[in-house]
Subunit: 456 residues, 2 copies
């Protein structure tokens, strides 16, 4: 790392933490209309900070909900443009009596800061800002072009981000999307994500007899809708846990040997068993646990219900049953094609005596960046420099809606390089953030911006 | 039928219907505390009628709820004793605006009487009373010993009947139980029931991971509790609908060739498909529809639930799932043994990665009377004489709790000979009762009391 910048960071650490504390003191709870003015106040604070830090074109851009804070610095001619995404809104603080500190009076204890939003995501938003501001302060210029897009509605589902992007396609145009809103593998083990699983969902409704029947009067004469449902749903997997839908795996891109090795290395089955309180893990045979999460598709029953749910017994043959199903998809599965395969399977396996209605629901494309993508190489090098260990190139088992949105609308290759920890209680009382990773992460972000143009 | 009695019935028909109307005018709704005094008024009216009809030892016996009306006539030395059961309480009348007549102002239109309780069961209670009273009036004595036990809580689950029987074992001692609270097969087709299916119930609780999980973060790594549940439940039947639990059918008494023929004759699959709005009926292969209902055991899923039930999708791996299961049992299956076989099956088929808790619930013994039981022969002859057709010897697909209670506590062989129709809207607005079956049924009851001592 550049010695001058390093010195700058050390000299300004107290200031940066003071700024973080000011930012975290604003209760920008996006879900609570009583905090509407606070959300805007946080946007204004952030805009002011970016302006002070010599970012340009700083604007608070309105949406139908909470505003987006935008800023840029576009003077690195011929160099790539990085769009930095983060969110300045936070989760509610209930149950507030379980907090050991005031959620909006940040306190630092043993180099850990406690406050709502410190880990998710205001602390990391500030790191993105400070990375650019520090280079500018020391060097007077940036090695890349940079744009900031900080939204105020991530915790309420980014309801207006789609429209915002559609309305600002030119403004947001970039080469790489940098997101600091994910977690590291462990306190000393950084990671950068290069793939996301996709999704397709469907709802299955079965109807047998026209109304619930008395099982004494009709039992044995007519299909029990729940029997049909469990038989139908059980047909989706074989006994080993493999998906039994014809063609389901056809387009799945296999892991490389290197990826397989990485997954095996990171899989800690004993720790996961303990965390989830299960005697055994379970899933598609032949793959390590992490491989199954990152790179193998699933068909999951998210909800199944029909018949009587009250106390005791009710001798009813239920008329209706419902199943909610989602698939996690991996490259190169196509959500629409997978939905069609599932539909075909369900129709082919439908037991006698019931009618079926299948409703297709949400879907998201899976995607993965090539591991030799310049942005990944820059991120890897930057993390290694800051943390003194090889980072893990990971994938996300879920889809990250905003990443999918930026990918689909702007064609942006995402670099998910976050510095929180899964154990830092975001979305829960006593959210905290390890400042050791504020320091190392800030350095990594600066190096990433520095290394990127060399790679691209 | 005895000519004198026949003449008596014709001469007294208007009086009997006037009495029925008076009885039905009392709103003896047992579930409604506002009608508590009316329930007692109905008990008193009935006691008064029995007294006027020369029955002896007429008493209103208290329970912890509504009282029981008791009466007897025990002068037929050496002859069998018949215990007549019925109930003088009725269902509520809501939604009252859907009644075309006042539910408690009986009206006769085209030889059909409209009023709450006319079919279920006050009309039939009155028939039992009038049968004995008419013989007494004409002959001055009864050919059998008779006891009446009319309860006021059938529509609220006969909550105090068990205790009442325990407290009055000697008083209620008899040879045969006569119940007029069931339905005929059709308006001109009488039936007498000689068997009931039994019941055993259990609740299955599965628990996978200690809490609901995000299917993006964990999907593929861990057993989905609902996958385990549908696989487990699907194992209870084979694809043909036969129960796949080892030993389940071992003790099942096969139908006789005669019974099979009867079942085939009565099975009207087209009518049932239409009634239930299904394209096909379904059940254990090799048996007619009626045979499956009357004489074959079932394992039914009454309720299955786990995971998300709201609108749309929620990508959750559920921690818990529950199934409510009841079996309908036939002679000579033992509920406790069947429950044990099910438990064994569930344990043997439990998928990996989940823990199971099985809770045993209610059970009832199945039973069947031999078709050559004198009471059945007397009932059959009486119905044939009154209706001019051969009655159907039927079974009940369900258990009838009060019949099980009398059978278990007093060892009584039950004769279920009712004169209502399934279409007469008991438990619904516009309950009615076809008076043609009041007339024929009353004659059949009189003949039953007359024929019984000749058979026994």
């Amino acid at each position: 790392m550049d010695q001058q910048i390093n010195a700058f960071l050390e000299n300004n650490r107290a200031l940066h933490l003071k700024q973080m504390s000011d930012f975290l003191s604003i209760p920008s709870v996006s879900s609570d209309s009583l905090h509407k003015a606070d959300v805007r106040k946080a946007a204004e604070w952030l805009a002011g900070d970016l302006r002070e830090g010599r970012l340009e074109n700083v604007q608070i851009l309105e949406t139908a909900g909470h505003p987006v804070v935008y800023a840029d610095y576009l003077k690195a001619e011929g160099k790539p443009t990085v769009l930095c995404y983060g969110h300045y809104d936070v989760q509610p603080v209930d149950p507030v009596d379980q907090w050991k500190t005031d959620p909006f009076k940040p306190e630092i204890i043993d180099n850990i800061i406690y406050a709502r939003g410190c880990s998710d995501d205001k602390g990391q938003v500030l790191m993105l800002a400070k990375a650019a501001e520090s280079i500018l302060a020391v060097k007077g210029e940036l090695p890349v072009n940079i744009k900031f897009c900080f939204e105020g509605e991530e915790e309420i589902g980014s309801a207006h981000l789609d429209d915002f992007i559609d309305d600002h396609l030119e403004l947001l145009k970039a080469d790489v999307l940098l997101v600091s809103d994910t977690t590291m593998i462990g306190i000393d083990q950084p990671a950068v994500s290069y793939g996301l699983r996709g999704l397709c969902g469907l709802e299955v409704h079965l109807r047998g007899p026209k109304g619930d029947l008395h099982s004494g009067v009709y039992g044995g004469a007519v299909q029990n809708t729940l029997h049909a449902m469990v038989e139908l749903l059980a047909s989706l997997h074989d006994h080993s846990g493999k998906i039994a839908v014809e063609g389901f795996y056809d387009d799945v891109e296999e892991l490389t040997a290197e990826e397989k090795t990485t997954c095996e290395k990171i899989s800690d089955d004993d720790a996961l068993k303990k965390e989830l309180d299960v005697d055994t893990l379970w899933g598609e045979p032949g793959y390590s646990t992490i491989a199954r999460i990152w790179a193998r598709p699933t068909v999951e029953l998210n909800g199944v219900f029909g018949g009587f749910q009250g106390e005791g017994l009710k001798t009813v043959i239920p008329s209706k049953a419902t199943a909610k199903i989602t698939c996690r998809l991996v490259p190169n599965q196509d959500p629409a094609m997978i939905a069609a395969l599932l539909k075909k399977h369900l129709n082919a396996h439908l037991p006698a005596g019931v009618k079926m209605d299948i409703r297709l629901m949400d879907h998201a494309e899976p995607f993965v960046m090539p591991l030799d993508h310049p942005a990944l190489k820059a991120a890897g090098a930057a993390l290694k420099e800051a943390f003194h260990v090889n980072p893990v190139f990971s994938r996300q088992g879920g889809s990250v809606p905003i990443v999918n949105t930026f990918h689909d609308k702007l064609g942006l290759a995402p670099v998910l390089m976050g510095f929180g920890l899964a154990t830092e209680n975001f979305h829960a009382p006593n959210e905290h953030f390890h400042l050791v990773n504020f320091d190392r992460g800030l350095k990594a972000l600066i190096d990433f911006l520095t290394f990127l143009p060399e790679q691209m």
